[in-house]
């Protein structure tokens, strides 16, 4: 609250100071941003504010940092950029946050209100552009609307199904030199949004129906999605699973929502999920979908998905219920509140003792786990460093609550498969949009939000080249993240598809292992750089990286370029056609 002392209602203030003061009152600790012409007046009061500003090197970085911050803390991430190209550069993070329901508020500068529509310098209709990739957006036309709009923006971003909100602010209403910026300070205690009232409490009749269906099911699976994390429902989920003894799959967005080391945890389902998680869903008689949305990467070919399963679907977004698969018991509500009610309702039916006999089901599943574990083969010494081996080494030589941020592609799937997530909010990734380049800035944002935690970015060489410049930001701001590039010299996932589905005709996927030279590049950006080429160098280098805390570290792991992600449900196939690995062949048996 240091901008202008304690706020007094009715105090004469300009829109720019009102904006920063509003952000302070929303509890914003950090803004990721990059100034420019239209947003310039707002950057002056930042100098006097308690809010930390992190100067990014590209606006996309600001957006992903805000997302990473939100992933790790649960608090809304805030980014601020200028009009025109500043605004368009942050469209990808907005869409990413929209797909993954990340609370984020983006402030964009805009040309003066009177100039809107005149094709002014750096003018861009960013509210028009972002209509379909934001939960809501605002074009503020008058200074006096700023506090109310900021209040509404944070309310919308953080309640219901969270999501990104963009606030576009014309220069004249924040520029103290312009009379249009003059206003009297106020702070609205409440928001007035007549069309926005998210339902949080589940319908009691539906909750009871769910409890009955759960109690009677013989082959149930809890299908936990990202909504568990958004609702801070990990403890409630654990209570439900332990009360009922029902196994849990955690989707890509829900890794960490249920501890991987728990005996009821089956791990990740989906296109690159493990055999047991995928097959458990296929063979289930009941899927309890909690904050998950039957994404195509989870269901595979829809009409062959979980053919015998009844569906209980809990989501705070009513539009998810029945969007893909019609639920037998739909419950609109906050996952934590609804799960707590379901646990009570199950208790009323007799609790743990009243559950159907699931011994055969659990023994079937543990049989699958024994027969079809994740596998890879690391040869002793020499060439052919396996990415999975690198991941296991990082996993086993870092604190258990380390936060891991990945990019998108093979390395992302391997990280999700091989890491052991035992704490919520330790996994930061781009699930829905699949944004290459997400990892570095997201890891930086996560580290800013959780400076007490070790943060590793597990990146691919393709992804790294998209957003690596933000390591300059990290070095300048002393944000000591660790980066592991699983450098296989290819756009690996595309290479894998070309090998498997395009008769090994490799088209535009080769990147070269040493162009660029990642170690020199890291050093040029103020980081420490290492290169690892053989298995025996892996552990000592990880230990060196862990010991460096005053700057970012980048390790260029030269990994086997031919390694493929398995298991795999080929696109367009049903989940019953899962391929465990080439040795097992089609069908996995």
């Amino acid at each position: 609250m240091s901008t202008t002392g304690s706020p007094a209602v009715g105090e004469k203030i300009d829109g720019g100071r009102a904006l920063i003061r509003s952000l302070e009152l929303e509890g914003v600790e950090v803004i990721f941003g990059l100034p420019g012409g239209a947003i310039l007046p707002v950057y002056d009061p930042i100098l006097d504010s308690s809010i930390r500003h992190i100067l990014v090197r590209h606006e996309q970085g600001a957006g992903h940092m805000a997302e990473g911050y939100a992933h790790a803390t649960g608090k809304p991430g805030v980014a601020m950029v200028t009009s025109g190209p500043g605004a368009t550069n942050i469209v990808t993070p907005l869409c990413d946050a929209f797909m993954d329901s990340i609370p984020m508020v983006v402030i964009t500068g805009q040309v003066p209100y009177a100039a809107i529509g005149s094709d002014a310098f750096q003018e861009c209709d960013i509210t028009g552009i972002t209509l379909s990739v934001t939960k809501h957006n605002f074009l503020v036309t008058d200074a006096e609307d700023i506090p109310r709009t900021i209040r509404e923006a944070f309310h919308i971003a953080t309640t219901g199904r969270p999501g990104p909100v963009l606030v576009d602010i014309p220069k004249d209403i924040v520029d103290p030199m312009n009379p249009r910026s003059a206003m009297e300070w106020y702070w609205p205690e409440t928001v007035d949004l007549p069309g926005y009232k998210p339902t949080t409490k589940g319908h009691p009749r539906m909750v009871k129906a769910a409890a009955e269906m759960i109690t009677q099911a013989e082959r149930p699976v809890i299908y936990a999605g990202g909504g568990i994390l958004k609702a801070r429902a990990a403890e409630a989920l654990l209570a439900l699973a332990e009360q009922t003894g029902i196994p849990v799959v955690t989707t890509l967005m829900a890794r960490g929502a249920f501890p991987d080391d728990h005996e009821l945890c089956l791990g990740m389902p989906g296109m690159h999920g493990n055999y047991t998680a995928v097959t458990a869903m296929q063979e289930a008689d009941l899927l309890i979908a909690l904050g998950s949305r039957f994404d195509d990467r989870v269901t595979g070919k829809l009409d062959g998905f979980a053919p015998d399963a009844k569906i209980i679907h809990v989501d705070i977004d009513p539009a998810e219920l029945g969007k893909v698969r019609k639920p037998d018991v739909p419950i609109v509500g906050d996952c934590r509140l609804v799960i707590e009610e379901v646990v009570k309702a199950i208790d009323a039916l007799g609790g743990t003792d009243a559950q159907a006999d699931r011994t055969p089901w659990r023994s079937t599943l543990s049989g699958y786990q024994e027969r079809f574990p994740l596998t890879y083969q690391q040869s002793e010494g020499g060439d052919g460093l396996k990415p999975q081996f690198v991941l296991e080494q990082i996993r086993d030589n870092t604190p258990e609550d380390t936060i891991v941020a990945s990019g998108v592609g093979q390395h992302q799937m391997w990280t999700s498969q091989y890491w052991r997530f035992n704490h919520p909010y330790t996994w930061v990734n781009s699930g829905g949009l699949g944004t290459m380049g997400f990892s570095i800035p997201a890891a930086i944002g996560a580290k800013v939000g959780r400076p007490d935690r070790m943060v590793w970015s597990i990146d691919g060489d393709g992804c790294f080249q998209m957003t690596a410049q933000e390591l300059v930001t990290a070095a300048a701001e002393r944000i000591p993240i660790k980066v592991a590039i699983l450098n296989n010299a290819y756009l690996g996932m595309v290479r894998q598809w070309q090998e498997m589905f395009y008769e090994e005709r490799y088209s535009e996927v080769y990147l070269s292992p040493d162009l660029p030279d990642y170690v020199k590049w890291a050093e040029a950006m103020g980081c420490v750089g290492f290169r690892v080429e053989s298995p025996e160098e892996v552990l000592p280098t990880i230990e060196k990286a862990n010991s460096i805390n005053d700057r970012p570290v980048v390790i260029d792991f030269r990994t086997d370029s031919m390694e493929k992600v398995y298991p795999m449900v080929p696109s367009g196939k049903t989940n019953s056609e899962i391929v465990v690995d080439p040795a097992h062949g089609e069908g996995g048996h």
Binding site: T127, G128, L131, S132, K135, H136, L139, I156, L193, P194, G195, Y196, K197, P198, T199, D317, P318, A319, G322, K323, V332
Partner: protein, 180 residues
């Protein structure tokens, strides 16, 4: 032109109360485009309370189930209430203006049609007349179809507007689409 019958099986009428704010129509149009929904007609104007506008949307549910349509629409922050208006519980009206060829030797035939439908002649030229008709959308369909053989040169429909029928003792209860 616009002669596919309104009120066909795949058409549903939604009455949507929205905040009367800049850009609301754009948001709705953007949603239709983003979700690949087809709309048949859309009419919008402020209500008796100038804080709100009412849209009457006729949607083609062959493109998406009505439930998804209303739920997605209801997620828009500015959308306050959505009511489905099936024909049996709604009063529906539409206005059409039609310019039809009417040379002297056929003009009286055209005027006959106008009179049968209690339409109005708005403008008369040498070879054409412009007519308006207000009525139930199916009546508008019939009118346009009967004028078609004379040669319609311009046609503008307002799109359907609708309000719930008032309850009477024998009336069916209103069906309200609660999307959240």
């Amino acid at each position: 032109m616009a002669t596919k019958p309104t009120g066909s099986g795949s058409h549903h009428t939604l009455s949507v109360l929205v905040e009367n704010k800049a850009g609301v129509l754009t948001r709705i149009a953007s949603l239709f485009s983003r979700r690949a929904y087809n709309i048949y007609s859309l009419a919008v104007a402020p209500t008796e309370d100038d804080r709100f506008s009412r849209l009457t949307v006729v949607v083609d549910v062959e493109s998406a189930p009505l439930e998804q349509f209303t739920k997605q629409l209801f997620k828009l922050i500015n959308v306050i209430k959505i009511t489905e208006l099936p024909p049996e519980v709604a009063v529906e009206r539409e206005l059409v203006m039609i310019t039809v060829k009417a040379p002297a030797e056929r003009r009286s035939e055209v005027i006959d049609v106008v009179e049968i439908f209690e339409a109005k002649v708005l403008n008369v030229g040498h070879d054409a007349i412009t007519i308006s008709l207000e009525g139930h959308p199916t009546k508008v369909d019939d009118f346009a179809a009967l004028l078609e053989p004379y040669g319609i040169t311009d046609l503008q429909r307002t799109g359907r507007i609708a309000l719930p029928k008032l309850e009477r003792a024998a009336g069916k209860p209103l069906r309200s689409v609660k999307a959240g």
